[in-house]
């Protein structure tokens, strides 16, 4: 197809899809209605299980099997990236060059690094109580580490961030989620069942299995983000074509 034909096909297709959606949207429930069958049930179930953050209750209790699939997607995506961005035969590794960083940038990044790390850990730890949780907090933790790259340079980051350790942590977080589920199964309940004591509502030790699964996800997401970024940064900063010059 040449460009004109392609755009025509796309345009007609989009118009058709728009017609479909227009028809469907007119039959949606009215905006602002009070009929939320799943929402009502999910909130009731979360309260029943002493989990203040309903979203975490859905993620790590009511629909924890979805999260199992989602964390597998993340794990698989990282593994796929490691495989696809591996050092190919026609590439060689060069040491990254030291970078000059403006003092204000360095100062800001060095101050915000520990703060960001603390916020990330807080968000993970309070997943069962307040908005956030393992997914969100894990990413904040990974971001904190990468402030070192902004503040100093890639060599500093590499020293603080041994990729094999984080790859291991990634696999550990993934395995921990599964092993928790299996442990419940072995103990005589359903896979991933919430059979732990539920604790006092709105305290750190509440929600039964929710904080544990949440922590496993926190470890996996933080480690996965670090490994993932390491692959891309390596590709951009360290790997050069074998017969080529430094990029």
């Amino acid at each position: 197809m040449n460009k004109a034909v392609r755009l025509w096909v796309l345009g007609v297709g989009c118009a058709g899809v728009a017609v479909l959606f227009a028809g469907a949207f007119r039959r949606l429930p009215e905006f602002g209605g009070s009929h939320h069958p799943y929402g009502a049930r999910a909130v009731a179930a979360a309260l029943h299980r002493h989990t203040a953050n309903v979203v975490s209750s859905v993620n790590f209790d009511q629909r924890s099997f979805d999260t199992l699939g989602e964390q597998a997607i993340l794990f698989g995506a990282v593994l796929g990236t490691v495989v696809v961005l591996r050092q190919a035969k026609d590439e060689r590794r060069v040491p990254p060059e030291p970078a000059v960083v403006a003092p204000t940038v360095r100062g800001y990044a060095l101050v915000s690094l520990p703060l960001t790390l603390l916020v990330g850990l807080y968000v993970v730890a309070h997943g069962q109580l307040s908005p956030g949780g393992g997914f969100q907090g894990g990413l904040v933790v990974a971001t904190a580490l990468h402030l070192l790259y902004v503040a100093v340079d890639y060599r500093a980051l590499e020293r603080l961030r041994p990729v094999p350790v984080f790859a291991l942590a990634d696999a550990f977080g993934d395995a921990a989620y599964l092993l928790l589920g299996l442990a419940v199964l072995v103990a005589g309940a359903s896979f991933l069942g919430n059979v732990l004591p539920l604790g006092t509502f709105n305290t750190l030790a509440s929600g039964g299995i929710v904080p544990l699964l949440n922590a496993a996800i926190g470890i996996e997401v933080a480690a996965a983000a670090v490994v993932l970024l390491a692959q891309f940064l390596d590709q951009a900063l360290e790997l050069v074509p074998r017969d080529g010059e430094h990029r």
């Binding site: 197809m1 392609r6 755009l7 096909v9 796309l10 297709g13 989009c14 058709g16 899809v17 017609v19 479909l20 028809g23 469907a24 039959r27 949606l28 429930p29 939320h36 069958p37 799943y38 049930r41 999910a42 179930a45 859905v58 629909r63 924890s64 099997f65 979805d66 199992l68 699939g69 597998a72 997607i73 794990f75 698989g76 593994l79 796929g80 990236t81 490691v82 495989v83 696809v84 961005l85 591996r86 190919a88 035969k89 094999p164 790859a167 291991l168 696999a171 550990f172 993934d174 395995a175 599964l178 589920g181 299996l182 199964l185 309940a189 359903s190 896979f191 991933l192 069942g193 919430n194």
Partner: protein
């Protein structure tokens, strides 16, 4: 542990295996990693079989994950349904993954540094995604596993990163499949907005409870969810990613993509329709029949036409997969339990046969560093056993009794009517003939020696990179010589002009054993797969299981009853068996295939790539933009057909 409780293990065990392989990858020797992967995938398959046999004659175990059994008819949890279709497919998936792992023992020259377990781990994740997809009774959960399959499949397709085309093929695959995924998600959103439910059965029950039947929202929801599944199933016009991905993916990955992943799209459509939309509040049977028939016939015809014109063997097989998916959809459009049985038999047998054919092509690639029909002309004489397997695979595709494909084809013809029978005979004859023609040329040297350079010059050898001439490297080179698409001039050019020649290029040492033998692991896996395809047609003990699975799959109310805890056994349809008319039609298709293949060597490539089909070939341009435009247009067409 009860049979219900064990169901999630079919997903959790391969996932855990993958995690352990990645975690310990740094310290594991490759051999250990491979054996571990085999044990995990095989063990998962054994578990699926045990569950299947344990549920014999009954609707099968139903598990509410984490114990969220609904109270008073409504709940918040995810349900896994281990019915005949789900568990049977989980067993099939596990068998194919195990075969692919055996096959790949000697295939890749080296794993990524420090990641000896990366490839088996990816296959295990793929297995987990597919098993989750077939077992779940929850639409959103199915979407999650659909995405897991996708992500892993993209990475596996792009595994040979040294080759730009592999990355391109994976990227195209990713774009088109992600687009399908978005459509599915939008559809789930619409259905959720209407019903406040996410389970197949729960949505179905809510739709049935609402008076008035399916309106625009319901049909649009169905069309959008189905779009994602049809992209996976490579139905026209969503199929463009498939040949591009197959021509660059490593052979064991092709086995899984063509053998079972694509077919899961067909399964998904069947499950979606019968579990959710077959009731009074869903999509009318006439509409569903019409849409599936249009999709099926166009896909089958396009697949067969394109298949015949290929010389890149993996592309040829890829288009034959498209043709057969079209046949599955055509048969499914009858929407009867008998049709579902026929598709089930056909699908299972096709999985074995198609994977075996890819296995044979992988051996050729390993030996000669090429997958070009012409370059390989007459060079396969030394690989007599592989030749026999390949020819048998071709005959099985055409429908030679007693292969399971022949039985499945006969059952589908019976269920789909006389008009469809013509299509079934023609399409299976053409795809079978394409394989047989290749078999005669490559393994017997039949017909004219090809024009152009008689010997193939491996590009890497010309460049003097001798150390790359190992199996994995030769796989790369094979793909290197040909475009991933039909529309590009470089891809369709008959010769690689200006390509320097190197004498004795086919004799690189690749294995420790005698050069005329392929690695045992590859032959064992390929033979076992073909034997599986044969067994489906020859072992009558399997047939009642397949009929039982199809009965459960195609019964709306029985599925709802099973999920809501009051299982009822659907009326049992007759177990499939051979009939004289079916056998005669099978023999006719086989004969046609042989005649076509017999005349083929006299047809030059120029006429085989007929001028009238040029626009069709050019449509398969390898341009992601084209594919995306076609996918969007197809989505609109699907929705409007349902109006």
């Amino acid at each position: 542990m009860t049979a219900e409780r064990v169901l999630p293990l079919l997903v959790a065990v391969p996932l855990l295996g993958a995690a352990l392989l990645v975690g310990a990858g740094r310290w594991l020797p490759r051999y250990t990693a491979d054996v571990f992967g085999l044990l995990v995938s095989g063990g998962t398959g054994a578990l699926a079989v045990v569950e299947l046999v344990g549920a014999r004659g009954e609707p099968g175990p139903v598990e509410w994950v984490a114990g969220w059994r609904p109270e008073g008819g409504s709940g918040v949890g995810i349900v896994l349904v281990g019915d005949g279709a789900g568990l049977g497919l989980a067993a099939l998936i596990s068998a194919l993954v195990t075969a692919a792992l055996v096959y790949s023992r000697r295939f890749f020259d080296e794993p990524p540094p420090g990641q000896a377990g990366a490839f088996p781990a990816l296959l295990l994740l793929f297995q987990a995604g597919m098993c989750g997809f077939v077992l779940t009774g929850d639409l959103f959960n199915a979407f999650v596993f659909f995405e897991l399959m996708g992500v892993i499949a993209y990475a596996l397709t792009g595994y040979r990163v040294e080759e730009a085309r592999a990355v391109q093929g994976a990227l195209t695959f990713g774009f088109v499949n992600s687009l399908g995924g978005y459509a599915t998600l939008l559809g789930i959103g619409l259905l959720y907005a209407r019903t406040g439910e996410l389970g197949f059965a729960q949505i179905g029950a809510a739709l049935d409870a609402a008076a008035g039947g399916g309106d625009a929202l319901v049909t649009t929801g169905f069309a959008l969810v189905a779009t994602g599944l049809l992209v996976k199933a490579a139905a026209v016009p969503f199929h463009f990613w498939l040949p591009d991905a197959h021509s660059v993916a490593p052979t064991p990955v092709c086995m899984l993509l063509s053998g079972v992943m694509v077919e899961l799209g067909v399964y998904g459509i069947a499950r979606l329709y019968w579990a959710t939309f077959a009731g009074p509040g869903g999509v009318s049977a006439a509409d569903a029949h019409w849409v599936l028939l249009v999709q099926g016939v166009s896909t089958a015809v396009l697949g067969a036409v394109m298949c015949w014109q290929q010389r890149h063997l993996k592309r040829l097989l890829a288009f034959s997969t498209i043709a057969h998916t079209g046949l599955f959809l055509t048969a499914l459009s009858a929407l009867t339990p008998e049709a579902a049985t026929g598709v089930g038999v056909y699908l299972v047998a096709h999985a074995g046969v198609k994977a075996a054919l890819f296995g044979c092509v992988g051996v050729l690639l390993d030996r000669f560093g090429s997958v070009d029909e012409r370059e390989l002309h007459g060079r396969g004489r030394e690989l007599r056993f592989v030749g026999v397997l390949f020819a048998l695979g071709g005959l099985a595709l055409a429908g030679l009794p007693p292969f399971g494909t022949a039985l499945g084809k006969a059952l589908c013809e019976e269920a789909a009517g006389p008009g469809a029978t013509v299509l079934f005979v023609a399409v299976s004859a053409v795809t079978g003939a394409a394989v047989l023609r290749t078999a005669a040329g490559v393994f017997l040297g039949a017909g004219q020696p090809p024009a152009g350079p008689p010997h193939f010059a491996p590009r890497a050898a010309v460049r003097g990179e001798g150390k790359e001439q190992r199996p994995g490297a030769s796989e790369r080179r094979g793909a290197d010589e040909f475009g991933t698409s039909d529309g590009h001039d470089t891809a369709s050019g008959p010769e690689q002009e200006g390509e320097p020649e190197t004498t004795g290029s086919g004799e690189e040492p690749e294995t420790a054993g005698p050069v005329t033998r392929a690695p045992d692991s590859m032959l064992v896996a390929t033979t076992a797969l073909l034997a599986g395809g044969l067994a489906v047609g020859c072992v009558p003990a399997l047939w009642p299981h397949l009929a039982h699975a199809a009965d459960g799959l195609s019964d709306h109310s029985a599925y709802l009853a099973a999920v809501f805890g009051s299982p009822e056994t659907p009326p049992a349809s007759a177990a499939p068996s051979w009939r004289v008319s079916g056998v005669l039609l099978d023999l006719l298709a086989t004969l046609l295939a042989l005649v076509l293949a017999r005349t083929a060597p006299r047809i030059t490539a120029g006429t085989r790539r007929a001028a009238w089909a040029r626009p069709l070939r050019r449509l398969h341009s390898g341009h992601v933009g084209d594919y995306v435009a076609c996918t969007v247009a197809g989505m609109a067409l699907l929705g409007l057909l349902l109006r």
